[in-house]
Symmetry: C2
Subunit: 438 residues, 2 copies
């Protein structure tokens, strides 16, 4: 019998109707045996997430102000779901320790974690599954940092005797039992940790989109989901701004070789996106897997005749940026030119100093600063086999009327990075989508 | 009245017939008033250049062997030209000091310079123009390095009173009168120095091709000559292996803003190539000015997850190459990858050490070495205005069936660098020629 760890996001557990969808998904495959639950999310665009209500409640309590009306709104969310489902879940009894905590010395992480806690208790009660509290088996150190090794041991022990279980996402606790939340990645990280601890065959991440999208849906309407994507491709898209799983949520299962399946709770018939170490046999990679990008880059173009003859010139140029703690993104080099592409927000505070140091130390013929650049990563492990792909990519951007300011493709051949003016960014992305999916 | 400095190469002055062509070229434009002459080159593919004969003569003399037959062959070359032209040129009298030199203590530079010396004497005699010896006005320091400032002063003085003159190329002398030859660029450098010293309006460089060719004629049959090329474009093509004027020959006139015209002595009706600081008004740059490339590159691909988060990673990587004195040509960067492209001949002696240092200091996830790469520079100042040019370039290479291993285009937009496997190099060049000129 296989083991699937299924994590359900906030929108997947926002209401009784959504709970029923989750119930049906679990019933559809008995291998789905370990569930990680988020707090109830928004039911519609005007709604407030339970976690945000909890933060508000904490802020009011910490400021000595009236928080009971907010707590009551939280109670109502859970009471509504439980009532509608007919679940045997005593909301008032569950809220009692929270009321006591608020009246005594409220802690932010503890309060923030209660959405996941209560929702998981409710889900476990409704399903009739055991509940395992993350506070007992997701371990943080006393300095607040996450302890991966202790967590792997504790979670494995806690879940080893269980055929199935519901575990709340987003939080854990230190040795004293003090609750600590994940600063990045939230319940996605918890799901990944549970999948690794139980040695899952698959980590399903149920959300409200049918997978990782080919590109930003704010730019292209209804972009297709990506059927298969490698961890590395995902990381590249993610780094360049794609809104996908946080790296911290990928790392535990990636290390264990467990594939991730991003699924849509509202369209369980959709296969979603499989995130894998390598494409399974028989699956041919498309020419381009996905496209992501970001605005807010600057390029510092240094020209110096006979630059190539000065061994160490490039290292000294990059050193100037490193000294100021400014990471560089790319450094395209011509014969007598070298550009350093940096994130504007990280560069701007040091701009004057860096430019002055370049002038003083490298004695260049000229230094030109170009601001307002956007960088687009066109990612795909299929590029290696597809000789014409780089030409098609540039052709598509050009056909969209966009002037390409910079191109960078390294030997890894996993991506091509294109620099364009910020005002051309959306046009370029749409041109790329049109070329590969319309 | 304008001043043109005309330098004639070895093939342009290889025989009496070639001398007559040079005479006609000078007669056709009275502005051609300062001539720099090379030694007689090959008259046909089986012939030997006079300078090579002179080296052979020196080698024999220095080894204490019989050199008189070689000296006699040299004598015959000049006697033949002078006789056929009917020039009043006493070859024996001119050879006397050379014979004395050889019998005493032969010096390599002095012997090498005699081809230019004798040919210029002969040309001046035949034209009835003054002869100005480069030994008196092209100045080297006692350590053998060239003294540009002293030369400018001395050459200006020597030529200022003259309406026209013939100056031998390739050599000069130190303060003691000891002859020193240019190590690079030869007579092209001399021509450039004379053009600058007389404040020429134009530096004509007469050779046996009708200009700078679009690409390597060994790869593409009869490539078109480039009508206009900027100094910077020329330098980029030259750096990447195009056989054009040496940088040292461009520098003096570039600094003085004197354009260079590469012309064909055998086809004086061809306009040749104008090398300029900027294209004259009304001249539209073509999408691509020229294509050059070289084999013999390696790429060191370093992969490390979260590399971007390590400020200074790139600088530290390049530092390792700089410490070993290995200049890098390009460093295309991905999200978690950085490649360093280096010349194989410079890298190979340090390969093991560099790779070990990369492993030890940067703790990368992987380091991959790819050898046998060729780099192609597609150069053109017209790329800025031509949005589609990058796509056309990659499309042409792809259509030729070549897999592109690397692309690098910086903000300067003067070129695109493409990396391909060495075995694909010629195919890629032919594909580019076909795209832009067939």
């Amino acid at each position: 019998m296989k083991k699937i760890t299924a994590k359900f996001g906030g929108s997947s557990l926002a209401s009784a109707a959504q709970f029923r969808k989750v119930g049906a998904i679990l019933a559809a495959d008995p291998d789905r045996r370990f569930v990680v639950a988020s707090a109830p999310g928004k039911r519609d665009s005007g709604d407030t997430k339970v976690t945000d209500l909890l933060y508000r409640c904490y802020d009011l309590a910490a400021a000595g102000e009236e928080y009971l009306p907010v707590l009551d709104a939280i109670r109502a969310r859970f009471a509504d779901i439980a009532g509608e489902l007919g679940a045997s879940f005593d909301v008032e009894a569950e809220l009692a320790p929270i009321r006591e905590h608020l009246a005594a010395a409220p802690r932010r992480d503890y309060m923030a974690s209660r959405g996941e806690y209560l929702n998981s208790r409710l889900l476990a009660a409704w399903l009739g599954w055991p509940f395992v509290d993350a506070a007992s088996c997701v371990r943080f150190r006393s300095d607040g940092s996450f302890d991966a090794d202790a967590t792997q041991t504790l979670l494995s022990q806690a879940l080893s005797g269980l055929d199935r279980a519901v575990v709340p996402g987003f939080y854990g606790a230190d040795e004293t039992g003090r609750v600590v939340t994940f600063s990045r990645g939230g319940s996605d990280v918890s799901g990944s940790l549970v999948a690794r601890a139980v040695g899952a065959d698959l980590y399903e991440n149920w959300t409200d989109v049918s997978g990782v999208l080919f590109t930003d849906p704010r730019i292209v309407k209804n972009p297709i989901p990506i059927p298969y994507i490698t961890y590395r491709e995902l990381r590249e898209l993610s780094y360049m701004g794609a809104s996908v799983l946080h790296e911290d949520a990928v790392f535990p299962v990636r290390r264990a070789g467990i594939p991730i399946n991003i699924r849509n709770t509202n369209r369980p018939e959709d296969p979603g996106t499989m995130i894998v170490a390598a494409l399974p046999e028989g699956v041919t990679p498309p020419p381009v897997t996905g496209v992501a990008g970001r605005k807010g880059f600057s390029s510092v173009l240094v020209e110096k005749s006979m630059m190539n003859a000065e061994v160490g010139f490039g290292a000294r140029l990059l050193d100037i940026f490193a000294e100021k703690g400014v990471p560089f993104e790319h450094c395209p080099t011509g014969i007598d030119t070298m550009s350093v592409v940096v994130s504007e927000s990280l560069f701007t505070p040091h701009k004057a100093e860096v430019l002055a140091a370049v002038e003083a130390r490298l004695k260049p013929d000229s230094v030109k600063l170009e601001e307002g650049l956007a960088m687009i990563a066109v990612v795909g492990c299929g590029m290696v086999a597809n000789k014409g792909i780089a030409a098609r990519i540039l052709g598509a951007v050009t056909a969209a009327g966009v002037n390409i300011r910079m191109i960078d493709q390294g030997s890894s051949e996993l991506n091509i990075i294109i620099g364009v003016r910020e005002e051309d960014y959306e046009t370029a992305i749409r041109g790329l989508y049109k070329e590969f999916h319309q």
